[in-house]
């Protein structure tokens, strides 16, 4: 479904991604794990067209997308829950969700997906009229995921959804990621919480200093000595 081929991305003179190649197939949950500053967020921003790669190719269902504008990429069915959630603090929960469906015109479909989001996160329904900035961290993360779902993506990118949340909320978010996946959305999950991520993922990649250093099934990565010492603290 999504394929990155030898991607190099720079911030000015700083090279953040070095020859990154990876792929995510239809129906999978694939995780990308790595330490702070490894280049995980840059990978997602490059996929979404916010950063443009200096070289390399990004293909969505075989078609190049690395020269497209972010809005064109969203239209093709890629939606991101960015690091730090980036809720619009002064817009209400309802407005935040509405904006998730910004490019859609199918009123009925939007209403159905809104119901789906409320099924996943009942708390959001109670908070509809409240400003996004007044939600708790966990609720903001739910809103960010809900907002991304409102675009009805075929590929959902998540950037450290567990960051700063209590273990019980993390459990809940990960369960919902699995549910969204089993309902038909392909998921590419960036995490530092390698243990949790590898438990729900089918496959995984490890990134260090802008490079992909390992690639394997989630089960093999969980068992690997290297991953266990470097990312699982065992």
């Amino acid at each position: 479904m999504l394929e990155l081929k030898s991607i190099n991305t720079y911030y000015g003179v700083i090279q953040a991604l070095r020859d990154v190649s990876l792929h995510v197939d239809e129906g999978e949950i694939v995780t990308l794990i790595g330490a702070n500053g490894a280049g995980k967020s840059t990978t997602l921003m490059t996929i979404c067209g916010i950063q443009h790669p200096a070289s390399g190719e990004i293909l969505l269902n075989g078609k190049p997308i690395h020269n497209l504008q972010p809005n064109e990429i969203v239209r093709l069915g890629i939606s991101q829950v960015p690091e730090g959630r980036l809720i619009f603090p002064e817009l209400t929960v309802a407005e935040n969700l509405d904006l998730g469906a910004f490019l859609r015109r199918d009123k009925d479909g939007i209403a159905r997906d809104m119901e789906y989001v409320f099924e996943l996160f009942p708390i959001l329904k109670q908070r509809m009229g409240q400003a996004g900035g007044t939600l708790s961290g966990g609720e903001q993360q739910m809103l960010a995921v809900g907002r991304a779902i409102m675009a009805r993506p075929r590929l959902l990118l998540l950037d450290e959804p567990s960051l700063g949340l209590a273990p019980i909320i993390i459990q809940q978010i990960f369960r919902i990621i699995q549910k969204v996946n089993s309902d038909g959305t392909t998921v590419f999950l960036v995490e530092q919480n390698a243990n949790q991520a590898l438990h729900i993922a089918h496959r995984g990649y490890v990134m260090e200093n802008g490079r992909i250093t390992m690639e394997d099934s989630a089960a093999n990565l969980l068992a690997s000595e290297q991953v266990r010492t470097a990312y699982l603290g065992m």
Binding site: C48, I50, Q69, P70, N71, V74, R75, S79, Q80, P82, L86, F88, P89, E90, L91, E95, D98, L99, G100, F102, L103, R147, A151
Partner: protein, 303 residues
């Protein structure tokens, strides 16, 4: 009567303030979206006034029905001035989007100087009379006695209606929501498929249209214009925007009205000599004591 004098000053201030508010909205909208003080915004207002002057002159010459002149001239000013605003953003600010913050500011000052001199050369350095286009509404005059100048009522109605429509537009339309989202977090807005370049263009167009409307109203109120009127009006509207809290739409309205009233009362009770000084003193005082303005939020350092 003392009270009647007070009411007179009050309405005079409100009228003047509503026009400051129209122009202040342009500063605040642009600042909200791209964080730039568009110092050429006053000149946009001046171009609006000149466009209306030329079109009204032409229409008068060909014998266009009197009542229609204002509408056509105002529409022409709005359209033409919006085109200026749009083009200005594309050539003077867009190329500097990722440059240090000072660069677009200097570009704005350059744009302002350019537009002043362009109109100076294309027109005349002198003040030119501006036709009285605004309808004088007699029935209303009788109702309010002498407290409301003949064109004041019209200015108040037009500017307040415009501001209410603008606020509803920002609050309820798809484009308005996209604008607020872009102002709050441009990257996130883009991740949702909002075309930030488009939103920025729309912002400049809307701001310029409001300034043009203000230009037409004030020019026919005052009766004369020249190439330099944008500077003073721009500074005052900027003061109004800062007073209300730059970036805040209701703030620009409140700031404009407060400044208009303050000027009117100072002129009426103290002396007319201080009218223009007042706004600059006010600007300095706000910047020192309450830089976030009346309705502005305390600036949180953006990370």
């Amino acid at each position: 009567m003392d009270f009647q004098y007070f009411i007179e000053l009050f309405f005079g201030g409100l009228t003047r303030g509503s026009i400051y508010a129209l122009i202040a909205l342009g500063y605040t909208l642009v600042y909200g979206i791209i964080g730039l003080i568009n110092f050429a915004h006053g000149e946009i207002y001046m171009v609006g006034a000149f466009t209306a002057l030329l079109v009204a002159g032409l229409l008068g010459y060909i014998g266009f029905p009197e009542g229609g002149i204002l509408i056509v001239a105002a529409l022409a000013a709005i359209v033409w001035t919006s085109a200026y605003g749009y083009t200005m953003e594309k050539i003077a600010y867009k190329p500097l989007r990722n440059a240090p913050r000072l660069s677009p500011l200097i570009s704005a000052i350059g744009m302002s100087t350019f537009l002043q001199n362009y109109v100076l050369l294309a027109q005349t350095p002198d003040f030119v009379p501006f036709p009285m286009l605004l309808p004088e509404i007699d029935g209303i005059l009788a109702l309010f006695g002498d407290v409301l100048g003949p064109s004041d009522f019209f200015i108040l109605v037009v500017s307040f209606t415009t501001m209410v429509v603008l606020m509803l537009w920002i609050r309820y339309t798809r484009m308005g929501k996209a604008m607020r989202a872009t102002a709050q977090n441009r990257t996130m807005a883009m991740l949702l498929g909002i075309d930030a370049n488009h939103i920025i263009s729309v912002t400049f167009i809307v701001g310029s249209a409001l300034a043009a409307l203000g230009g037409v109203l004030i020019a026919s109120h005052m009766g004369q214009i020249n190439f330099g009127i944008g500077f003073l009006a721009g500074m005052k509207a900027f003061t109004a925007a800062v007073l209300g809290g730059i970036g805040s739409v209701p703030g620009a309205v409140v700031g404009g009205l407060v400044l208009g009233l303050a000027e009117s009362f100072t002129t009426g009770y103290v002396s007319g000599n201080y009218e223009d000084v007042l706004s600059f003193c006010l600007l300095i005082l706000i910047l020192i004591f309450r830089p976030d303005g009346i309705l502005g939020k305390r600036q949180v350092q953006k990370v």
